[in-house]
């Protein structure tokens, strides 16, 4: 009876349980996306409306239309490209250096238990130190250039990165390392064949944290010692009371942070698919 019903009314076929599940799943995702977009639109219109009606002072709080105008100006006179470019460059440079230095140190600590034990308290202290406190020192030592800012970016992420990677390496199953020895390998082989490939998920999640921290460090550095970059624009804008410039820069920063995070997320997806 059921099959006859199906063939007769192709447009109104009763759905199987799986189809119902898939449809509910898709609908759930669509609803979530819609609500997210709605919140953004609602916030922007409320902001614009309040500024237009004079409920808030547009001089201090700016407004979406002013931000859009400011953004257009920044693109026209090229300040957007110069400042965003320099901030991106500094962030990527510190991120890359954090990755390289972090991996080197974590490997060294894994190799030598004694070294790890000796250095542990230093790493813990340096990691819990607020790194912005170091920035003035970097300025004195390195001047007010791109180097200082990259070093500031590195200083925020590096110690946590070393600790996390080392802890990740240590979590490798001892028995798997023993396996490498039973197959005739050495400590180096164990590292290359078991520890490193087994730690890739940890390395990737560490990268996700690092990219955010590197950006934090770079902005702190730019606050204190830069003539270009989004951090500089924010400080400059607040000092000359061009608050739409400040807010535009913050929004660009948001977009950069999201884009960099998504980039590493994509790398992670690629790895998951491969494994």
């Amino acid at each position: 009876m059921k099959t006859i019903y199906r063939t007769h009314q192709m447009t109104n076929t009763p759905l199987s349980k799986q189809e119902i599940f898939e449809r509910t799943h898709r609908r759930h995702h669509r609803i979530v996306a819609c609500i997210r977009l709605l919140i953004l639109i609602l916030f922007l219109s409320l902001w614009e409306f309040s500024a237009q009606m004079g409920y808030i002072d547009a001089f201090f709080f700016s407004s979406p239309s002013k931000v859009a105008l400011c953004f257009a100006d920044m693109i026209k006179d090229g300040t957007f490209f110069i400042n965003t470019g320099i901030t991106l460059l500094e962030t990527i440079a510190s991120f890359f250096l954090v990755f390289v230095i972090g991996m080197l140190f974590a490997t060294l600590l894994w190799y030598s238990d004694k070294c790890a034990e000796v250095l542990e308290p230093y790493l813990v202290i340096l990691n819990s130190l607020p790194k912005s406190a170091l920035a003035p020192l970097f300025i004195v030592w390195l001047g007010t250039g791109i180097n200082t800012i990259i070093v500031a970016g590195i200083s925020v992420a590096i110690f946590g990165s070393i600790i996390n990677l080392y802890t990740g390496f240590r979590q490798t199953d001892e028995e798997k390392i023993k396996l490498i020895y039973t197959l005739g390998g050495q400590k180096k082989t164990a590292f290359l064949k078991v520890v490193l490939p087994g730690s890739i998920p940890i390395i990737l999640s560490n990268m996700k944290v690092n990219i955010g921290l590197a950006l934090v460090g770079v902005i702190i550095g730019e606050f204190l010692a830069a003539r270009r970059g989004l951090g500089y624009l924010i400080i400059y804008g607040s000092q000359v009371f061009q608050l739409h410039l400040v807010i535009t820069s913050i929004i660009i920063l948001c977009i950069i942070a999201m884009a960099l995070y998504q980039l590493i997320q994509a790398l992670e997806h690629f790895y998951r698919k491969k494994v």
Partner: protein, 272 residues
Amino acid sequence: MTQPILELNDICYSYHSLKGETDALSHISFQVKKGEFLAIVGPSGCGKSTLLSIIFGLIAPESGEVHFPHNAKNNGDEHHQIKSCPRIGYMLQHDHLLEWRTIYNNVILGLEINHQVTPEKTARAMELLKDYGLYKFKDKKPGELSGGMKQRAALIRTLILDPEILLLDEPFSALDYQTRLSVSSDICSIIRSTKKTAILVTHDLSEAISLADRILVLSKRPATIKCDIPIHLTITDTSLLASRNAPEYQGYFNQLWKEISDENHIPNPPDD
């Protein structure tokens, strides 16, 4: 008489911690002949696995020596033994296949480590994969295989290095009972057909009786050799199930059971 391939002289070993010393092995001496299948049984925690690690050379004994006299025979002079070890294969309790490698890449891991990835060796790996019904799974990840298949893959990984002595550290204990019967009879038939020397550590008495030519019973810690029982089963089929029907089986089982349970009734030493 066949020459011994492995000789342990008066091996002692103890674990040290700040709480004190724990004697694990005390004055262990025995020989293993070439082609012999030796099983070592004993109460759990008595140092059976430690003994295998010492034989392999992963840890050094505190006193005593491990000799491989068979390898010194070319020298002619027994007192000037060449310090060359035979190739030893070591199978651990779990398969420890690396989950990011395919079955094939796991199988050739030992070859990679020893820089022996040659066309003959990889062809041999393929052959072994076919023999154990894993060929069509060679490009799968370990997670997609059953426990028995994974243990077979681990066995190929060990065998591909062509060891002269196989050390088996309870390699079946992580498997369910049915898989265990088939995997252990597989391993047994491989060892018999290739005439390899094997040392099996187990706590399963029936496994020991049906697989081994000789059983060493270790005492509770500090372990000493309690008795050395040669096994002769008058059957042709050496699978685990068939050997239970051998007329001698029950006698051996009772004898071993008595030795082991005697051990368990000895009161604990004060430092334990």
